[in-house]
């Protein structure tokens, strides 16, 4: 990579890279129309969701295919408390996050000891249970398939954030804060314990790490961040309905983490870009849009299985993979 450029230039570009990206993010909503700013907003939401799942899947290596459930809890908590009690949306951000976290704690505690794939099916089940419960409108709380509507926009005193640009900046500021927090977490004892568990759970246990507690913590934190995303989503759309929280959404989040790079924070952001922007970019393919998307996923895993931006250089070279393509197994 650096071999292609003179060392000084490479280093210079690298240093300029991050500020350049930040500048682009800041300027974008002023250069693009409202529709594209909205697309940028949803990119931000998916970045948050990807980062939240990354804690569980990327750092600890737990297969979570029901993450949309936590997202839903956050969104609906905001929706219900705002429409019934008039509590301001922004104030509900920590409340929704905590609600999602508490929910995660309660439902994953009894099952956290399950081995990989068994945990996977349980998370799928949890996600579906949340969605189905929302549709069936228990106690008249959730509005059934119509969902909850009439949610207010977030506001700070008299300043109401209801333009596309304001929402865009709100979500990306939250993403920025999340990234800072997650980076610190990655380098902390907890982060290293997580990675240790991912690499070899038994060895981790043997070195004295409380595996159960760490796994539970990962789920709770992942849920908390997903709850934040839910709150921001509710504040933007002003209506939440069960259709936005399906198993397919959980699969998309899963793909974001894997395509971006497990355990890699910048990777996850890129993964979110791929998942939310590419279908828009693929529109010219009309009916073939999704076929191209699926193909892109497979090719992605073939040539960069470590993701766009792997945490550690783990991907195999394309040459080797092609060589193995038609070779027999040994």
């Amino acid at each position: 990579m650096s071999a292609h450029l003179p060392v000084s230039l490479a280093a210079g570009l690298r240093r300029a890279g991050l500020p350049l990206v930040l500048a682009l993010f800041a300027v974008y909503p002023f250069a693009a129309g409202a529709y594209f700013v909205d697309v940028g907003f949803f990119f931000g939401i998916y970045a948050l969701l990807g980062l939240s799942l990354n804690i569980v899947l990327g750092e600890v290596g737990l297969y979570d295919l029901g993450h949309a459930g936590f997202y839903a809890i956050g969104a609906y908590t905001t929706a219900i408390l705002n429409t019934r009690f008039g509590i301001p949306v922004l104030l509900l951000l920590p409340v929704s996050a905590l609600a999602a976290g508490l929910f995660a704690y309660l439902v994953t505690s009894p099952v956290i000891h399950l081995r990989g794939d068994y945990l996977c099916i349980v998370t799928i089940g949890m996600g579906e249970i949340v969605r189905l419960a929302l549709i069936n409108n228990p106690f008249g709380l959730t509005g059934g398939p119509n969902g909850v509507y009439g949610i207010a926009a977030p506001s700070l005193g008299f300043w109401v954030l209801d333009s596309s640009r304001e929402h865009y900046f709100l979500v990306w500021i939250v993403v920025g804060l999340a990234i800072l927090a997650l980076r610190r977490l990655q380098r902390s004892r907890i982060g290293r314990a997580w990675n240790c568990i991912r690499e070899d759970e038994v060895a981790a246990q043997a070195t004295g790490i409380d595996v159960r507690r760490h796994k539970l913590l990962a789920f709770v934190l992942g849920a908390v961040l997903a709850g934040v995303a839910g709150n921001l989503y509710a504040g933007k759309l002003m209506v939440v309905s069960p259709e936005s929280f399906t198993f397919w959404e959980s699969c998309l989040m899963f793909c974001i983490v894997l395509i971006g790079g497990m355990g890699s924070v910048p990777g996850v952001v890129i993964g979110a870009a791929a998942i939310s922007l590419f279908p828009e970019i693929f529109r010219p393919f009309a009916t073939y849009r999704m076929v191209v998307f699926g193909l892109a996923m497979i090719l992605m895993m073939m040539f960069r299985p470590g993701g766009f931006w792997p945490r550690r250089r783990g991907g195999l070279e394309a040459r080797d993979l092609l060589a193995r393509l038609w070779r027999r197994h040994d």
């Binding site: 949890m126 069936n136 894997l258 073939y288 999704m290 076929v291 299985p305 991907g315």
Partner: protein, 303 residues
């Protein structure tokens, strides 16, 4: 009582579909630890191929050979085609990914699923299709106090025969032993002289073929098919696989049957609207008390 028996048959019919699809899932999963999301779409594709055959050959079948032959022909064509498709998909989409690990394979499987599903939509259209009425046998039977259609009985019969046959295949033959051994411990199996490539080919022909057969049966039984039909059946099949226990291939079959019956009980005696919630709750409870599934072996983890 009579109603309960009727409902039981309903539950077992659905359950046998789940079980047959779960079998294909479980074989791939047991051997490769790959959640083959595309498996549900193999089932759907099989159903569509059967439909196409019946539509094009309808004149021949209905006037000369009759609907039963039509059904068997459709099943044969679908099974053979999907056996081929299965091997192709494995080579193209999965084999290159194995070295990268389990999770990239899952994403690849999701990608394959999207591709197949959307190709079905492009080729056959987004509208629902229906198996032609002329291709469906029209016999009603009265057995005691129950009324059944001959088709229903035939399908139940075929499903159970297939399951019994597969049980025998997996448990009692060398092929089956090879698959089970590879699922249990791939390296030792290789050391024992089991050819891994052959096992892969076996599961990727048998599994999708089974799925395709089930697809044709579902098409004949319900008549209506859509390009999204693989999704929910695939999810239920995966649930059945886990319920039965990973690595226990016949267990997936029983898992499917049990799933169908539990679903029936929840729907009939609690509430149809909440039935899936109950099914998942029961699954979670089972796993809490039996963490390796209903029939899963307690395999010691090597340290």
């Amino acid at each position: 009582m009579r109603v309960f028996l009727e409902q039981l048959i309903n539950g077992l019919t659905i359950g046998s579909f789940y079980g047959l699809i779960a079998l294909g899932y479980s074989m791939v999963y047991g051997v490769l630890k790959l959640i083959n999301f595309a498996h549900g779409d193999f089932f759907a594709l099989g159903s569509y191929l059967g439909y196409t055959l019946l539509v094009f050959a309808s004149a021949v079948l209905t006037t000369h050979l009759g609907p039963w032959t039509g059904m068997l022909a459709a099943m044969a064509v679908a099974a053979l085609s999907l056996a081929l498709v299965g091997v192709l998909v494995e080579r193209a989409a999965y084999r290159p990914i194995y070295p990268a690990g389990r999770l990239p394979a899952v994403v690849s499987a999701l990608g394959a699923s999207i591709i197949i599903q959307n190709l079905i939509m492009i080729v056959w259209g987004p509208r629902y299709q229906a198996y032609p009425a002329s291709a469906i046998p029209n016999l009603r039977l009265e057995v005691g106090a129950f009324g059944f259609t001959a088709l229903q009985l035939a399908i139940l019969g075929i499903s159970f025969a297939l399951m019994a046959g597969l049980y025998f295949l997996i448990q009692k033959t060398t092929w089956g032993a090879a698959v089970r051994a590879t699922a249990l411990d791939r390296d030792t199996a290789a050391l024992m002289g089991i050819n891994f490539s052959r096992v892969i080919r076996f599961i990727f022909t048998l599994g999708p073929a089974l799925g395709a057969l089930t697809g044709v049966m579902v098409g004949m039984y319900y008549r209506q098919i859509s390009f999204t039909m693989g999704w929910s059946y695939g999810l239920k099949a995966f649930t059945a696989t886990i319920l039965g226990g990973i690595g226990n291939i016949p267990g997936a079959m029983f898992g499917g049957l049990i799933l169908g019956v539990v679903e029936m009980l929840a729907s009939a005696y609690v509430s149809t609207a909440w039935k899936d919630v109950f099914v998942f709750l029961i699954l979670i409870l089972v796993l809490i008390f039996r963490p390796t599934g209903l029939f899963g072996e307690k395999v010691a983890e090597k340290v």
